[in-house]
Symmetry: C2
Subunit: 457 residues, 2 copies
């Protein structure tokens, strides 16, 4: 196919948008390990999970055999308001880098939540509404998930209680106001409003909070309130399922133009974006139909894939959640305050952890000054101001494109640009002022985090 026939942005027609989510677990020989009851160490049953999550979402969480799951029409309609997202050919970046590589990015930032998180938020809100619930609770770190959930709940007229990691609550008052504009209540975590919050505050006065801690509070708030359930924006199988819409659109767009990627790159915190983006490609790989290099990129300051351990761990600091088998830094691990932006979770999606352990994907960690350099370079030629999280993927995409420049290889690189950095200007200011630095945890830091792993088997 002639090069220039590929437009800057490939948009699908509404009729080409996915009507089903793809469940990559159905194609995995080694299934992700089940969630365990922390008391009995037996796999969590649907009934047990139903106290925390909506029934339909529990079913999706446990289903590792159904390959395609219908997207309800109500969710399809909502998707039509901000999807399909464009698959962009980064012509200007390629030119700037003078690389023979062909670079594409799937841009998920064109919605008010500013990221891909809305894809799962709207699904989770829909099922909560369908079950007749009053509302949902959740945690948020950088604020993308909380914003997305607020939007989704306002659309379905559900109450929404967000526990926001204290350091973000203070650094990102504007994120908080977006959530409030959508009618959500926002509480800085740890807070005095929950038992687990009070306990953590007593043990660690002055803590700036963590995702693991906010999760504990949100779960408690949900299980202690009539008509509420807890929802989570990443890590879970159900979330990766909803996010498969990213990968399916990407694949349809590429197929339309006869493009086969060589390398697929995504940033990874809990794994929702990466898992969604790679799903259909990983499916082909699992079924032996095609091969792709898949690279997960994580912050050097929170390196669960590259320096963590594959083991059962608590999903939250308060240890009220089930145990999950995952690459983890230990539920007590808190990334250095030096680290700007998201991708702070101590563990990684069980699905992605299994795929990584099976050698089906690579992982790379990058330092934040290098990440912001890439962000600035990208912004100046491609226009979009990227989120720090997404910029991890940009960093590695640029690195790979520069390798192509050396070797002369015309590789096709696809990366996920998960969101915009409009609410991350404190971090950009630090970078602009030359005040940003890197912190890589020492082996001792990591050993301390891992010392708290639960004994399983």
């Amino acid at each position: 196919m002639e090069e220039r026939t590929i437009p800057y942005k490939i948009y699908l027609e509404e009729s080409e948008m996915p009507k089903q989510w793809y469940n990559v677990r159905a194609d995995m020989k080694n299934k992700p390990a089940p969630l365990l009851n922390p008391g009995t160490l037996a796999p969590m049953t649907a009934e047990e999970l139903g106290h925390v999550f909506c029934d339909e979402l529990v079913a999706q969480e446990l289903d590792d055999t159904t390959r395609f799951i219908d997207i309800p029409v109500e969710i399809q309609d909502f998707y039509k308001m901000y999807r399909p997202s464009p698959l962009v050919r980064a012509y200007c970046l390629e030119k700037k880098l003078e690389t023979p590589a062909k670079i594409y990015y799937k841009f998920e930032g064109n919605n008010t939540s500013g990221s891909h998180k809305l894809n799962s938020a709207i699904a989770q809100a829909y099922y909560a509404k369908k079950q007749g619930l009053k509302g949902v609770t959740t945690e948020t770190g950088a604020g993308q998930w909380g914003t997305a959930l607020s939007m989704a709940c306002s659309y379905f007229d559900l109450d929404c209680k967000v526990f926001m990691v204290k350091v973000s609550y203070e650094q990102k008052p504007f994120r908080r106001e977006v959530m409030r504009t959508y009618g959500a209540s926002v509480t800085p975590s740890p807070s005095e409003t929950t038992e687990v919050g009070r306990k953590i505050l007593a043990e660690h006065p002055g803590t700036t909070g963590s995702l693991g801690c906010a999760i504990s509070e949100a779960v408690e708030a949900a299980t202690q309130s009539e008509g509420y359930r807890y929802v989570l924006g990443s890590v879970l199988n159900q979330v990766l399922l909803h996010q498969s819409v990213i990968g399916m659109e990407t694949k349809t767009a590429l197929d339309k133009y006869g493009i086969t990627p060589d390398i697929i790159i995504g940033c990874a915190g809990g794994g929702s974006n990466l898992g969604g983006l790679i799903s259909p490609f990983m499916g082909e790989k699992l079924r032996g139909e095609k091969d792709y290099r898949i690279i997960a990129v994580e912050p050097a300051s929170c390196p669960s894939f590259t320096r963590g351990k594959y083991a059962y761990d608590f999903c939250d600091t308060g240890k009220v959640c089930p145990l999950a088998k995952m690459y983890t830094l230990g539920s007590g691990f808190i990334p250095s305050a030096n680290h700007a932006g998201g991708l702070r979770y101590h563990g990684m999606s069980s699905t992605l952890s299994q795929l990584y352990d099976d050698g089906l994907m690579e992982a790379r960690s990058v330092e934040q000054t290098a990440v912001f350099e890439a962000a600035e370079q990208f912004a100046r030629v491609e226009g979009i101001l990227p989120a720090p999280e997404s910029s991890h993927a940009i960093r590695v995409a640029i690195d790979e494109a520069l390798k192509c420049k050396e070797t002369g290889e015309e590789k096709t690189i696809v990366f996920g640009l998960t969101g915009t950095g409009y609410f991350d200007m404190v971090a950009y200011e630090k970078y602009n002022n030359g005040e940003m630095s890197d912190y890589i945890p020492t082996d001792e830091d990591l050993a301390a985090g891992l010392a708290g792993l639960p004994k399983v088997e």
Copy 2:
């Protein structure tokens, strides 16, 4: 055509994007009045204007006969990075309002500058580069224009000096950081760096600045520096020309689905968005081919159309610019500090002023609490968090749709959604906290502003 065949978002193909701008002045019987030399009161010559503006832009400013002007390929390529912008059918808003009206909005916020301003910024930067200039200077109020220009200059490797109205500089540090990320220098205005700035500071110590004042500083900075010219984001004929890309895309998208609007609505500060959106429709109206109701919406706190005077006035506070004939509140008018967001300029585009004076469009002023109510309502059902400026148009679109609900008329309403409110969360916070109020200038306030009009004829 069957109703539901219209998608939520109409995107044009790259091949359907405009290759020419449309110059509405070519179809006006009564041309907009020329800019005058404030000393001689004679029309400004191209040579005189060339000291301030780039040569090609001067030609565009003065050309009121050429109907279509080619968009250079370099600009078309940049447009392809973030355009076409979607024309969205507001199905969810219609449903919420229970109106038989059909509502569409042209959404210009899907780019990092967050607004339509980029359409003209990239054109002005291109012509500056082509002329071999080192850089450009400008002013910015709410920050959308400054951000857009920073992006455009970074793309063409031009230096960019932005004078930012002091109150915005202080209230919107994040806007400033976006501009710095794109390599621009940002100075709060009035500043000590220019003669006119020092004079204004001496006369009004403690002033929080105004657009008119920042313009004076930017013009001085351009004319006093070798290789620099001044660029402006609104008001001028050339800007309306570039912004015609909005209206042309809108019209192509509507034509594709056989839709004829009854009412076209846009917010109006200096007039760039409104002028661009309505251009091709106004052209049909001027040529007697079709009729449309066209409504300009302005803040009740800065009501140049609805309460101003049609007269020659200074474009800037320091009176260093040419005189323009326009609806104006007087170059000394400064909107109440109570007013949040943009649309603060004391005057209105000469082109729009002439069209309004000729009875070809209507104007309406709205109060800001009503504007934020509309913004919140829109955000909750349509997902997008709108800029306060854009929300003026939303307010009137909702009002018109509610009239249709009363009368049962199925009118088709198109409005311009110029941008996102990500950098306006201070104003949203005020609204969320119930602390927002309205201020409408008294007749005495307005008389004071108009007392300073220059004597012409």
